[in-house]
Every structure is written in C-alpha cells, then in structure tokens.
C-alpha cells in the first residue's frame, strides 16, 4: 500500500485499539454507556453524559449524514497530493456522535450538507484500515 506512505498514520493506543481492530474487520465500533445509553466517539474512559464507567463497545450502523465538508485543493503534504481534490467532512452518525473522514467514490462537487453517507473501509496496510464514507440512498 505504498500510496499511503508518508500520510499521517494513526497510532492506536490501548484506549483506541478496539476501534482500529474493528476497522480491520469492517466494523465501525463506537462506545455506548451501559447506564444512560449515550453513544460517544472518540473512545473515552467514561461516559461524557453521566460519567458512568465502564462504557461498552457497540458496532455502529456506519450510516450518517454530512454535517459539513470542504474540498481540499492544496494538500496538507506531498503524501496527500495525489488525492487532491479530496473531501474532508464531518459526519454525524445515525447514533449521534460526529466524526471526521473523507468522502470518496464520487464527484467531490456533488457533496452536500445533509447528504446521507455510509462507511467504506480503506485498507492502508496489513495493520491499518481507515474508515471513509461514500454517498448512499
């Protein structure tokens, strides 16, 4: 996967290992509070709503809507230059939390706020799979 060399590679920690392991298996894992039912992302030690601990891991639907987006015309570094123009978006998952990702597999100019999207998993290396999103019905 040489095309991802030099990119800003995430380094999983014990706190986030379940998330990245899920990505490798094609599952978008987020946290849910066993006490109040609040969903949260990124992974944390306790529930940000009620401070309950521990929180559980659940598989998210992988579906959400574009909360905002931009089309990057000037890459952050040479490693991203081949991807230009690329869409950086904030996606609100159906479960509630927002996450940042790229929207791929389509014309960047057709991305809109409110557009429904679903997760696609992009394999960057044997150890690393990164969740991205594409338009869906």
């Amino acid at each position: 996967m040489a095309e991802h060399d030099g990119k800003n590679l995430p380094r999983p920690t014990p706190e986030t290992a379940t998330y990245w392991e899920g990505c490798r298996h094609g599952k978008l894992m987020i946290q849910r509070c066993g006490s109040c039912g609040h969903h949260q992302f990124y992974p944390r030690l306790m529930c940000t709503e009620c401070m309950h601990t521990p929180v559980e891991w659940v598989q998210a639907s992988g579906r959400g809507k574009v909360r905002s987006f931009t089309i990057v015309r000037h890459a952050i570094s040479d490693a991203y230059a081949a991807d230009v123009p690329y869409v950086v978006a904030l996606i609100r998952l159906d479960e509630g939390p927002t996450l940042m990702s790229n929207i791929i597999d389509g014309d960047p100019e057709r991305v809109r706020i409110g557009m429904p999207v679903e997760t696609v998993f992009e394999v960057w290396s044997e150890d690393l799979t990164v969740p991205k999103f594409r338009a869906c019905d």
Binding site: N8, S68, I76
Partner: protein
C-alpha cells in the same frame, strides 16, 4: 469573585518590524519586542518582576519564558510560558492581571514573537500544519488548517445564507485598514472580486480568505492601576476579561456556527459593566474570514446569522458601527502564529492613546479585543478603556 475591573493597566506597548524579517530569529524578535515595550513604558529591565511569553514554533525552548529572561538577564518572580493558540495573548493578559491583583508581582512584561515566514524549516511547517488535528481521528484524513475553518464557513453559509462575497468583505475591510498602516505586511488594495476570484484553497475558502504567514512580535507592559499614572503614556485600563473553552478538535464541537466566544464575551461584558454598544473599536481574531463573522455574532455586535450583511454594509470601516482590525489584522497586517493577536492588543492601546494617525477612530474610549485558538476552541475577550472605571 474579585473583579479585575480597572485594577491593572497597560503602560507600555510596542511591535517589532513585521512581515518578512529574515535578519532576526524568533528569539531575537521576542527580545526586541521586550526592549521596545520597556522603552515605550520608560522603564528599565530591572523594574520587571513578571515575564510571560508563549513558545515559538520556529525556535522553541522547553521553558521559553525562562529562556527569554535568561537572554535578557532579568530575574522575575513570576515567569511562565502559556500556550492556547491564537487566544494565548489575551488569556496571558487575563492571567497576568490576576497575578498583579493578587500580589504575585507588580510589573509584568508580556512578550510574544515568532518567525513563521523565514524561520521555519519545511519539516517544522509540515509538523505545524498536521498538529492541529486529532492525531488518530482527524489528521489521517489530510485536513489542512484552512480546511478546518472551511468546515465552519460552509456550515455558516448553509445555515444562514452567508455568501462568498460577504466572507470577502472581511478581507477587503482588513486591507483597507492596512493601507492606512505603514507597518502592515500587505497594503495594496483588493476588491471583493479579487477575493472571490483568488485561488481555491479549501472550498469555500480562497487564498485571500486566509491570513498571512509572517515574522514578527510585540510586547506590552502591565502594572497596577495605582502605579499606572507614573508612566509617560495614557494608561489603558483592563475593564473586563472573560474566557470560554468549547472543545479542542473541531469534530468534537457542539456547534459549528456558534462558539465559546458567547461565554467569553458575556463574562468580559459583565466584568466591565459594558455591552456591545459601548465598544468604540474592536480587534476580532481573523485567521480566516468566516471566524470574524461568527465572533461578531457571538460577541453580540449583530444577531446570529447577520454578520455577513453587517460586514458587507461597511460597518467594520473607520466610519462604520464597529471599526475593526484597524491595523489590518491577521489578514493584512501580520500573522506570526500564536503571537498574531498581540498586534490587535497593541493596536487597541494605540487607538485608546489616540496615536493611530490616519487610522485613528475618533475619540475612542473603549476597545474590545477577542482571540480564539485551536479551531474555534479557546476564546478570550478583553475590554480596555482610557478610564479605570
């Protein structure tokens, strides 16, 4: 809670040369700023017992304020470096004022400088660009700093119908002011058309929606109101200070179109006993054009969603309702990173001393400055006046 209102004053203020300053390192710029501010205040370095700085990106030190004190051979009893991004300047002043009021020290120099234009290696610049995002959950997706701010610009446009021309009006205003400031980095006039036809960087933001990359620094001297009358210039009193902290990463922001400037502004107004209508001149953090619109709304200068038309109507000009960024701002005067908002502070001092020459706001009595750091993350608002109360 003890109010800081009217208890401390800025008695010295100065900028270094700004723009492209290749012959001075970031450390030298910081020291030059101290030197100039002490001269302005008419005191010697031995009278400084507090020193506050922020770290430089081009020439960082583990303990930056200690480094500057060591370089100057001063031996303060209050010495600290603070880092809160573009909001650092005003947060520092908030803390330094508290230090004076609680008796930690009497005379504080706040000095900040960096050399982003000529002092950064490519590796440092790349590291800086990538450091703004969450290392696991944002940075892998390649967001540039303009891209982060483009997310809030797009959300504001979608929610309130804000137009690219209204964003552009922020940049045009900054340039109009800079044209009256002989020290500004960019002074040639620009039009709305120039901005909306400049190169797309991260939609909807174009090149001229983005602030400069600069070298430069500034310093102020802060002391108690009781001592302020002993200095040569008209003291500029701190009337209100407030902070608000909403998030670190934009993907965690509760709102993309309303910021913690609402809280920082409310706290500052409450301390000062003043409101938006009392402000004669403002310095509003303008790293990218949409930030100004959101902050104007959050600070109560216009209703939510109406900042675009407020700016388009020319209200930020010298004859407008709220002359803003009269030095030219980060967009046209100087943006040397975290120190960038220092220039809004020294400009407020210049305006309140009535020394702003061609860009003087007539009879300016009260100024508001607002800084934000991160991606609309940390906010600090200060209200300053010619009278202590």
């Amino acid at each position: 809670m003890t109010s800081l209102r009217g208890k401390v004053a800025i008695v010295g203020a100065a900028d270094t040369e700004v723009g492209s300053v290749p012959d001075l390192s970031a450390t030298q710029l910081c020291v030059d700023a101290v030197h100039r501010a002490l001269k302005d205040a008419g005191i010697t370095k031995d009278q400084v017992d507090g020193l506050v700085t922020c770290n430089s990106m081009a020439e960082p030190y583990m303990y930056h304020a200690e480094m500057i004190a060591e370089y100057l051979q001063i031996f303060p009893r209050y010495c600290i470096s603070v880092g809160a991004g573009g909001g650092t300047t005003f947060s520092i002043l908030h803390h330094a004022a508290s230090a004076i009021v609680t008796g930690l020290c009497e005379t504080v120099v706040i000095a900040m400088a960096d050399s982003l234009r000529t002092g950064m290696s490519k590796a440092q610049a790349l590291a800086m660009m990538s450091s703004a995002g969450h290392p696991q959950f944002e940075s892998p997706y390649g967001p540039t700093i303009p891209a982060f701010y483009a997310l809030i610009a797009r959300a504001h446009m979608e929610t309130y119908g804000t137009t690219p021309e209204q964003l552009a009006a922020v940049a045009v205003n900054a340039r109009q002011h800079a044209a009256r400031n002989p020290l500004a980095q960019k002074r040639e006039p620009i039009s709305i058309d120039d901005v909306v036809n400049s190169r797309l960087i991260a939609d909807p933001l174009r090149l001229l929606d983005c602030s400069l990359v600069s070298d430069g620094g500034a310093a102020v001297v802060l002391t108690s109101a009781e001592r302020a009358a002993d200095f040569p210039h008209t003291p500029v009193y701190l009337l209100g200070a407030g902070e608000g902290h909403g998030h670190e990463h934009i993907s965690q922001a509760q709102s993309l179109t309303t910021s913690a400037a609402v809280e920082s502004g409310r706290r500052a107004y409450e301390m000062a006993g003043l409101g938006p209508a009392d402000i004669d001149v403002a310095g509003i953090y303008d790293c990218f054009t949409p930030v100004v619109l959101i902050e104007l709304e959050d600070l109560g200068f216009c209703a939510k969603g109406e900042a675009g038309s407020f700016v388009e109507a020319g209200e930020l000009g010298l004859d407008g309702a709220l002359p803003t960024n009269t030095h030219g701002g980060l967009l046209s005067h100087c943006h040397s990173g975290n120190p960038g908002s220092m220039f809004a502070l020294t400009e407020a001092v210049t305006q309140l001393r009535h020394q702003a020459a061609d860009r003087q706001v007539e009879d300016a009595q009260v100024a508001l400055v607002h800084g934000q750091g991160g991606i609309m993350s940390s906010h600090c608002t200060l209200i300053l006046g010619r009278e202590s109360g």
